[in-house]
């Protein structure tokens, strides 16, 4: 993992910065502001519409690419401050994590808030990083699956996933690990139904669910007994 120098002074590069800064203050406690929701579901719809309507496409492309209003931001990820330059307003947290900072644990799968493979902890709550704008993540504590490690030691949830074989291809696994970590931090004795509900925002295609349930309960027991 490359080291990024912490930057306390945020350098603004675009005229829209004030608006953005205001937006991040009443940022998304649930991880889903109206703006991030529109960004999440709107991208594909716009692309599809533009395909058959060239005038719309022209206008949209011009604003997105040639308007290039960018900013430098600082994100608090896994306890470290990361300065990221040239961030566009439309850039998602997931994009920054994966393509600018090399935190590739969170995966892009549905890219519109329906599968949970990109889950990260946002002030302790699990959110979909594909549907949070990078700028909205400023000032919040982001923990990715990589950040659950304590040095070289696995988090109890990670340990339980390994033992219970709660994974196959592993592409959804970081998202599940993050969601289970959030669950056991809040409830160290969840019933099976509570586990299912807590993980209902994560999809797996290989079919690991029942072993993930077992891992969640094993992890909760460890957390409970360790406390």
């Amino acid at each position: 993992m490359p080291k990024h120098e912490p930057t306390s002074d945020i350098k603004r590069e675009g005229p829209e910065d004030e608006e953005r800064a205001a937006g991040s203050e009443d940022g998304p406690p649930s991880g889903m502001s109206r703006r991030s929701f529109i960004q999440g579901v709107g991208g594909t719809a716009v692309a599809t519409a533009a395909m058959s309507s060239s005038t719309h496409a022209e206008a949209d492309a011009a604003e997105g690419a040639e308007g290039v209003r960018v900013a430098s931001i600082t994100l608090n990820i896994n306890g470290e401050a990361h300065a990221v330059s040239r961030v566009e307003p439309r850039t998602t947290l997931l994009d920054v994590l994966r393509n600018r900072l090399e935190y590739t644990g969170a995966k892009p799968v549905c890219e519109r808030a329906s599968c949970g493979a990109c889950s990260v902890l946002f002030d302790g709550k699990p959110v979909y990083a594909c549907s949070i704008l990078a700028m909205d993540a400023e000032g919040h504590e982001i923990i990715t699956v990589e950040g659950l490690l304590d040095g070289d030691n696995l988090h109890p949830v990670q340990e339980a996933f390994v033992e219970e074989d709660a994974l196959m291809c592993g592409f959804c696994t970081p998202g599940f690990v993050v969601s289970v970590a959030a669950l056991v931090a809040e409830n160290d004795d969840p019933t099976l139904d509570e586990v299912k509900k807590a993980l209902s925002g994560n999809l797996c295609r290989c079919g690991t669910y029942t072993r993930v349930f077992a891992a969640a309960q094993t992890a909760a027991r460890r957390v409970r007994e360790g406390a």
Binding site: A47, T48, A65, T104, L167, C169, G170, C204
Partner: protein, 719 residues
């Protein structure tokens, strides 16, 4: 040296036991790098432009506006491309960021010539239908027209005749990691480095080298980790070839993975089926005749075949149902093509056949388990039906469907499966170094099934080491060749190759250290991280001391698969308990038992995960998944993950995986089982719904609406 048979299962240290997946830690910590995670410095992002119409031609493609955009470094066009589906790839761009690539793709101007289209199989069969391929090919192709015995005579003599029409939907693979890869050329422009999400590193290499007209030896393909394929990821595909071309033109690395929408529409599916089946049985319950007229669609040019009458004797097989007639059509529509999907054809075949068997059981008043034991020629499955039934609680099954108070009814159902498997065509290298380290190289790949773990387990078993002592290296064309991971052949191909190679490497080691123990190699064995004399176990060397004697000449042996160590042909049975709410039509799975023969089990833990996963995919197929096409626009309306439903956590029942580890099965050698356990799940669920409510839901997926319609047909609708 002669191939040594497997040790008896009882003498195994690791094989047949539970071994924790060797690559679990990188997967749970986010450190495993998938093709989608590889991003070389300065890599460009590639993105396709797709056809907006379901039957059209890209007459002219203008990329000038896209290329003028700052950050766009290369474009690809397929001018003149005829697209038989909406979403076909006609152009692509490579740009500095995904956002710029998206902007550029929107600026590609395409002049389209549009043709009439049809996207539903029922419509495409009509004589006045639009033609998928214009005048060049008809929409309907008779794929099977065959007969054995005397079907009509058997129907006349029968004690019971049943007649039903069963249908299965188009199911998409919905791999979480989309198809695609990252390509990087070296400075000479002659060597290509590829990180692909694939089930076959060598097949990707071959296709790329062919398309780019370059030697295969100049292409290196790596798949360290891949996020699901289920049969859809064998070739480089258009996406791979275009990625390599964009990278060559831009002289930069290019990463091109499909968008979720493209993944859903363009990367394969399980074809649909409509099966009109008549069947006859004698008074004892022996099925005497099977008559099927069927059709289905595999898209605009792929077939939609399936074996029938499935496990009760397919065409050309002398055992099973004696009188059979099968007529089956492939129907072309303007939609995405089928590809192999986990046990291609079998779940469809199972759904129609097992429903037919159940209806015969009801008609004759025979228990469905007993009817299957009577008719199924496979002895292992005969025992498995009884075992699975007992485990699921079959004795609680009501023979009087729909009876009992209250709207929530309980039902039980069962179904069987067969699969070939087998394996071959795999080589491996085992290196033993003077520091005691052991490296095993094999050019197979791990789809999430546990292949990397299989490599380590077998090597550890043969060398008397612990699993963690082995460094398994797979997923790279620079390693000895192995086939694509399909047909459930991987484990049965890889495990024997590793065993033979490890045996040879060990023999070399024993020969080289024999003098130090004052004996011959034949009098030595490797046990518990040591080399010891068979006649005097107290005379031994630790593994590391023995390896230290190798000095500057480490051992490197390469051998290949031997057919005596693997087998093919496997049996499995699925039994389910579920409840149906007759007021809402809601089906809730309660318990699923999956019993599966697997020959010699290499890792029981990951094998059980395969069974669980197959059950879950089977539930998803039975109750939730459906590719929905829009008749008016010709698009898939649910090419995403919120409206193309796959089962989630709230849909999960208790699942009991049962690995069939009889002495006889364990002695058969290794048999892969990635596919078979998915086959009978939907059939067993359909039968359990029938048992619960006394009405047959004859079409997949079994949605609440279909349940309520079935109740209404039976005059049993509530309210």
């Amino acid at each position: 040296m002669a191939v040594i048979p497997w040790k008896p299962a009882g003498d195994m240290t690791h094989v047949t036991k539970d071994t924790v997946r060797v690559d679990a830690v990188p997967k749970v910590t986010g450190k495993a790098k998938y093709a989608y995670d590889v991003l070389p410095k300065d890599a460009l992002i590639g993105l396709f432009v797709t056809s907006p119409y379901p039957n059209c031609k890209a007459v002219a493609i203008d990329t000038a506006a896209a290329e003028a955009l700052p950050g766009v470094k290369a474009v690809w066009v397929d001018e003149g491309k005829v697209c038989r589906m909406a979403g076909e790839f006609v152009a692509a761009v490579a740009a500095e960021t995904r956002d710029i690539a998206r902007d550029a793709a929107r600026r590609v101007r395409v002049e389209w010539e549009r043709y009439p289209f049809v996207v539903k199989a029922d419509d495409a069969r009509q004589t006045n239908s639009a033609q998928v391929h214009g005048s060049t090919r008809p929409n309907v192709n008779r794929a099977t027209d065959d007969e054995a015995g005397d079907v009509e005579a058997a129907f006349e003599a029968a004690a019971a005749v049943v007649d039903g029409t069963y249908s299965t939907q188009v199911q998409t693979h919905t791999s979480l990691e989309p198809h695609g890869m990252t390509c990087r050329w070296d400075d000479t422009g002659e060597n290509l480095r590829v990180w692909a999400s694939t089930q076959g590193v060598f097949s990707v290499r071959g296709e790329l080298a062919g398309a780019l007209e370059m030697p295969e030896s100049n292409v290196v393909v790596t798949t360290d980790y891949m996020g699901g394929g289920f049969g859809s990821k064998f070739g480089a595909g258009v996406e791979g070839i275009v990625c390599a071309r964009l990278a060559r033109d831009a002289k930069r690395a290019v990463k091109l993975l499909l968008t979720r929408e493209q993944e859903q529409t363009n990367s394969g599916n399980r074809p649909s089926s409509v099966q009109h089946i008549r069947a006859a049985a004698d008074a004892d319950g022996r099925v005497t005749a099977f008559d099927m007229e069927a059709y289905g669609t595999g898209g605009y040019s792929a077939g939609a075949g399936f074996p029938a009458p499935y496990i009760y004797g397919v065409l050309g097989d002398p055992s099973g149902i004696p009188n059979r007639r099968i007529v089956r059509d492939d129907v072309r529509v303007n939609a995405g093509n089928a590809r192999a999907m986990r046990a291609p054809g079998h779940p469809q075949a199972s759904f129609g056949m097992e429903a037919t068997m159940d209806e015969l059981a009801y008609a004759l008043g025979i228990d469905p388990v007993e009817l299957r034991v009577l008719n199924d020629p496979n002895e292992t499955r005969q025992a498995q039906y009884r075992d699975a039934a007992e485990r699921v609680g079959w004795s609680r099954r009501s023979a009087d469907p729909g009876a009992g108070a209250g709207p929530v009814k309980t039902g039980f159902g069962i179904g069987g499966a067969t699969w070939g498997g087998g394996g071959g065509g795999t080589r491996a290298t085992v290196e033993i170094h003077s520091d005691g380290s052991v490296v095993v190289k094999c050019g197979t790949q791990d789809l999430g099934t546990g292949t990397r773990t299989v490599v380590a387990v077998v090597a550890a078993e043969q060398l008397g080491l612990a699993v963690e002592d082995i460094t398994p290296l797979i997923g790279d064309t620079r390693f000895p060749p192995s086939g694509g991971s399909g047909g459930s052949t991987t484990c049965a191909a890889v495990a024997p190759a590793i065993k033979v190679t490890a045996d040879t490497a060990l023999a070399t080691l024993l020969t080289r250290v024999a003098a130090a123990l004052d004996t011959d190699a034949e009098n030595l064995e490797a046990v518990d991280r040591s080399i010891r004399r068979i006649d005097d176990p107290s005379a031994s060397l630790s593994w590391s001391d023995a390896c230290a004697l190798l000095g500057a000449e480490p051992i490197s042996e390469t051998e290949q698969h031997d057919g005596s160590l693997s087998s093919s042909g496997t049996a499995g049975v699925c039994a389910v308990e579920l409840t149906v709410d007759e007021e809402t039509g809601d089906v809730r799975m309660q318990k699923v038992v999956s019993v599966q023969e697997a020959g010699l089990v290499i890792d029981k833990l990951t094998l059980e995960s395969q069974l669980i996963g197959a059950v879950i995919q089977g539930i998803s197929y039975a109750l939730h998944e459906d590719r929905v096409m829009d008749r008016i626009l010709g698009h898939q309306v649910n090419a995403n993950m919120e409206f193309y439903k796959i089962s989630g956590t709230m849909d999960m029942p208790e699942i009991e995986p049962v690995v069939w580890m009889t002495e006889q099965s364990l002695s058969r050698g290794v048999i892969g089982i990635g596919e078979p356990p998915v086959i009978p799940v939907a059939a067993a669920i359909g039968n359990a719904v029938r048992n619960a409510i006394g009405a047959r839901v004859a079409g997949l997926p079994i949605t609440p609406r279909r349940v309520l319609e079935a109740l209404e047909r039976e005059g049993r609708a509530q309210g």
